[in-house]
């Protein structure tokens, strides 16, 4: 149990942590049920707590409209990566702690009846880091959106590429950007929602490329860690560096939207961001070269010898 300083000298037992959460911004003790009811936004200072993928989906999509796809994808340790622990142990621990198989969830759903494809990242699973599974889910979401001509919404929350998969994680930047490029060429819109934190290789790939980018208030959004940025050059970091509002001022976010308004904002945008009736560029259009989502991909896999 983490120890924390209690306000007003109240005794620790007044706030059992299974019932109460302390706001990291204003130190207010928040009753968990109340916090959940307020979409996990501090009722005192407006601090936006991080959400699990299922919480985010429940807040954004119509009840019971979401159909998760590819829930059974799991990361594998291709490199035999060992740092202080083997990667495979980290994966197992993250699975045990979160109940999730990896750091992203995707599927079709509806927002006030409007059909969309949604992919939501989950910071709780290994810091939302993007390895092959996250890259695969983002890509399948984009390919499905293109095939079905449905708007794509991705909610990012990630520390960046997953180091334990090495350059295979790095290649997910190209994989996801390639899919988004085809989505855009096909005239299907993409809304990127950047939440706390969105950094590194996730910000430097799909999360930056929304036709419209929305950020949650005060979310940390940046390329390099602030320590790295400050360490690289011997100067003070500007006020609000790498926060959502900084991003907005510098032209990289269209809107900074409090969580309470996010669903309504998306709904508003979706009235304008409909897949175009006709496809623009010849040669770049339509279905992914891998066919309806993963069909051909499955075929490619089948062509692999089943034993090495």
């Amino acid at each position: 149990m983490p120890s924390f300083k209690l306000p007003f000298g109240r005794a620790r037992q007044e706030y059992p942590p299974n019932l109460w959460t302390k706001c990291p911004d204003c130190a207010e003790m928040l009753y968990n049920k109340q916090l959940d009811k307020n979409q996990r936004v501090c009722t005192r200072c407006g601090h936006h707590f991080r959400l699990r993928a299922d919480q985010r989906i429940a807040q954004l999509l119509d009840r019971d409209s979401f159909r998760e796809q590819d829930a059974n994808l799991e990361s594998v340790d291709m490199l035999g990566f060992v740092d202080q622990k083997p990667y495979s142990e980290r994966l197992a621990a993250a699975h045990a702690a979160t109940g999730s198989r990896d750091a992203a969830v995707w599927g079709p759903g509806t927002i006030a009846g409007t059909r969309v494809v949604v992919c939501v990242m989950d910071f709780a699973f290994m810091g939302g880091s993007m390895g092959t599974v996250v890259g695969e889910k983002v890509t399948r979401a984009a390919e499905h959106a293109l095939d079905e001509r449905l708007p794509l919404i991705i909610v990012a929350s990630s520390g960046g590429a997953r180091m334990q998969e090495g350059t295979l994680s790095l290649m997910q930047l190209a994989k996801t950007c390639a899919a988004l490029g085809r989505l855009g060429d096909g005239g299907v819109p993409f809304i990127s929602v950047l939440t706390d934190p969105t950094t590194g290789g996730v910000f430097a790939s799909f999360a930056a490329l929304g036709d419209v980018n929305i950020a949650e208030p005060k979310a940390l959004i940046g390329f390099a860690g602030a320590r790295v940025a400050a360490g690289t050059i011997a100067e003070e970091l500007p006020e609000g560096f790498q926060r959502a509002e900084f991003l907005y001022d510098h032209g990289f976010a269209d809107l900074v939207v409090p969580r309470a308004k996010l669903r309504e904002t998306l709904l508003g945008l979706l009235r304008y961001m409909k897949p175009s009736a006709q496809v623009e560029r010849a040669g770049q259009n339509g279905s992914s070269p891998l066919g309806r989502s993963a069909q051909l991909f499955d075929e490619l896999i089948r062509r692999e010898p089943t034993h090495g």
């Binding site: 930047l173 950007c177 692999e304």
Partner: protein, 341 residues
């Protein structure tokens, strides 16, 4: 720990972890050697004509990324690459090869120019990473990298990429999306610098050598992973000992790939490029019971063996068919990825 092991086509003495770390770290140091020929030196040796172009048309001409027109054995192309300096002053001016966003936006401009003119593209990768300072963040270095990657993925002209030195993270990949990705033998390619990985995963930069080994960042290992397609051997002692010979070898391989790609129908070219990245990485599919089934059974084991083979080569294992340090002539000195190697 020395252990003997037999596997299809691989039968070598495994190095100790210490030997391995030293060998890998020597590669990292080779890749970072300031005397190593950088993009402008390379292209000036590879090409018979170079016309450098400048500017992103938005903010600034970034000296850390160079590009322009070049002619390689009669083939006209656009080249783009990271640029470090060999001397300190020049290196400072080039920001040690760490681009600001405007560098990537210059690259995007040149990529689009190549596409419009119907010229193929050759890129040279050699950066510790994009510059992480406040000015770079303010002007959206992440957006610039993402945009460059997306642009390259859809570019309707052939792209040949060469990792020549340090392939550092997203700042490298932003110029490195290609139809064919080559790598000089002593180059490295990684998702984060060894120092960065060490300070995050081991919580101390002292573990940089361990991180370098764990990330499998050598060219030979990247070949095994399929992230690169060919390793181009360097002259004995490394590229900087004989830049002309290095350029000669690169020229031959670049020219061969440009010729092979030139004949490709555009849609086929783009679909193949899409598929190249689409298939990067590996995952498993969990059964209903919750136990994972490998997505491509046996592939992981196979790749591990190839990785190990590449690894052994690092410390000079003998008798291997795919020793990337071997010096030979143009066609033969190339390892191809795939089932056969």
């Amino acid at each position: 720990m020395v252990e003997q092991r037999t596997a299809a086509s691989v039968a070598v003495v495994e190095p100790t972890p210490d030997e391995l770390r030293s060998a890998i770290w020597a590669r990292v140091q080779q890749a970072r050697n300031v005397k190593r020929p950088h993009t402008l030196e390379l292209i000036q040796s590879i090409a018979t004509e170079v016309i450098e172009l400048h500017g992103d048309r938005l903010f600034r001409d970034d000296p850390a990324i160079v590009g322009g027109f070049c002619r390689i054995d009669g083939r006209r192309a656009v080249f783009v690459g990271h640029q470090k300096g060999a001397e300190t002053d020049e290196n400072i001016r080039r920001n040690f090869g760490m681009p600001h966003p405007e560098g990537y936006r210059k690259a995007i401009r040149l990529f689009r120019l190549a596409e419009r003119l119907g010229l193929p593209i050759v890129t040279f990768i050699d950066t510790p990473g994009a510059f992480p300072g406040p000015a770079s963040e303010e002007r959206g270095v992440a957006e610039a990298i993402a945009r460059a990657i997306m642009t390259m993925c859809g570019l309707r002209t052939p792209i040949v990429t060469v990792i020549t030195g340090e392939g550092g993270s997203g700042g490298a990949l932003a110029l490195a999306v290609g139809d064919v990705v080559l790598a000089l033998e002593n180059s490295i390619y990684s998702v984060i610098s060894p120092e960065g990985a060490a300070s995050i995963l081991w919580r101390s930069a002292e573990y940089s050598q361990q991180a370098a080994a764990a990330m499998r960042l050598t060219a030979a290992e990247q070949l095994a992973l399929g992230v690169i397609d060919e390793v181009v051997p360097e002259p004995p002692g490394g590229a900087h000992t004989n830049p002309e010979e290095t350029a000669r070898r690169l020229r031959a391989r670049i020219a061969a790939h440009l010729d092979a790609l030139a004949g490709r129908e555009r849609k086929a070219l783009l679909d193949a490029r899409y598929a190249r990245y689409r298939n990067m990485g590996e995952f498993a599919i969990a059964a209903e019971s919750g136990e994972a089934q490998p997505q491509r059974p046996g592939l992981r084991a196979r790749i591990r063996r190839v990785l190990d083979a590449g690894r052994n080569a690092l410390v000079g294992g003998e008798g291997e068919t795919n020793d990337p340090t071997a010096d030979s002539t143009d066609e033969a000195d190339v390892q191809r990825t795939g089932e056969g190697s």
